[in-house]
Each structure stands twice: as C-alpha cells, then as structure tokens.
C-alpha cells in the first residue's frame, strides 16, 4: 500500500490526483498502474518524469512500505 500522487499533466491524463495502491516496490507500482491505464503507464516512464518517494527524488527501483508517498513529477514548468 502506497499513497500515489500525480502532478501537472499526469493528473489530467489519469483523471485522478491521489490514490492508495497496493505495491511493495516502485517497479511493482509501475506495473499495476500500466495494467490499469496503458497511457499513464507510458507517461510515467517518459523522459523527464521524476519520481519522489517521501519527497526525495529517487532513480531506479526502490522498496515501498504502507506509509510511502510516491509522487510522479512531470517536467517542471517553473513559476
């Protein structure tokens, strides 16, 4: 179980902003999301999309716990 957050255009694409999703790693989470919504699965793997776990950017895979907050961050536009 992780709390998943989508920002910017990813939120519009998926039609949601925040959900609880069952997954014990980031790679498992990607598979769950892609199985539900192929467009979203592709978009979160796209170039320039960063992933933050508990507000820290991570690269590659990572373990998730029930308390993890996973954010998919599309290219930032600045203010």
């Amino acid at each position: 179980m992780a709390r998943v957050l989508l920002f910017g255009p990813l939120r519009d694409l998926a039609g949601w902003r925040e959900r609880q999703i069952e997954a014990d790693s980031l790679s498992a989470l990607r598979i769950v999301l892609a199985a539900e919504d192929a467009d979203l699965g592709e978009a979160i793997g796209g170039p320039g999309v960063q992933v933050a776990i508990d507000q820290a950017v991570v690269r590659g895979d990572a373990a998730l716990t029930a308390d993890s907050e996973v954010a998919f961050l599309p290219p930032m536009s600045g203010g």
């Binding site: 957050l5 920002f7 910017g8 255009p9 939120r11 519009d12 933050a52 507000q55 954010a71 961050l73 599309p74 290219p75 930032m76 536009s77 600045g78 203010g79």
Partner: protein, 147 residues
C-alpha cells in the same frame, strides 16, 4: 530566510515593508515581483500547482546556493499557487546584502531558477481552452548564465 507558498493574493509592497524593517547593517535590498500578464485577454486565468513541502524544500536549496555565492543578509521568497487572475502578483523575491551588486545578482539568479526549474506545474486557462506550459527557451538560457 523565509520561503513560502500561498493560495491567497498578496501585496508585494507589504512584503517589502516587512523585509526592510530594522535592517541597520543592510545597505541594499533588491526585489522582483512577477505579475500574471493579461496578454490583451488571451490569458484569463493561470493555475499553478506545487508539491507542498517538496516545492519549498527545492526552493530552499537554491536559496542556500545563492547564500553560498553571495554575501546575503537575508532572502524572502513568496510564490502564489492555485488560480491566479490577470494582473495579480505570482512571485516575490527579496534579497538583502551589504552592497547592491550582491543583492541584484542573487535576486536575478533566484528568479532564473524559479522560472525554469522550480517544482511548479503551470496551466493557462484561455479563451481557447486550457494548456500546460513548459519553460521557454529564454528561461533556460537565462538560467544557464549562472553556470
């Protein structure tokens, strides 16, 4: 140093008044206020999304970098989020230093970062619908001046 996000409209002048008060050793205060342009009606409303906590922390890191590059006495950054109407201030940056060159350069540096790399996602709601905005080539070029 204060870094904050606000959903409410703000008055940059009130922030400058508070920022300059009681600075007997500061010789120089530079500020920048970014305002949502109406573009002759082409942009009705701007919508800015942040990642609360993450966004302030990312801005704080850049403010620390500015404090490392220039001898600053203080920095204040306030950024609007949510829906912003034409003519409303979006961002306010103030820098205080002993001398004006440090204050100007640090303020300029912080704005270049905020406009190009800060964790915001920006959507324009115009007469032809809505669209997500990415930094312009000019925004990237401005940022690259600082190496």
């Amino acid at each position: 140093m204060t870094i904050s996000l606000t959903e409410a409209p703000f008055d940059p002048g009130a922030l400058l008044t508070a920022f300059t008060r009681g600075r007997s050793e500061t010789g120089a205060v530079a500020t920048f206020t970014g305002i949502a342009r109406a573009e002759q009606g082409a942009t009705a409303v701007l919508e800015l999304e942040a990642y609360p906590g993450f966004t302030e922390a990312a801005i704080g890191k850049i403010a620390d970098e500015a404090r490392g590059r220039w001898a600053l006495h203080d920095v204040a950054i306030l950024h609007r989020v949510g829906r912003i109407g034409p003519g409303e201030p979006i961002v306010f940056v103030a820098t205080a230093a002993g001398h004006r060159r440090a204050a100007f350069e640090a303020c300029d540096f912080l704005m270049d970062y905020l406009k190009s790399r800060a964790p915001f996602w920006k959507k324009e709601h115009g007469p032809d619908g809505e669209r997500w905005i990415e930094p312009t080539a000019q925004d990237h070029a401005d940022r690259e001046r600082w190496g």
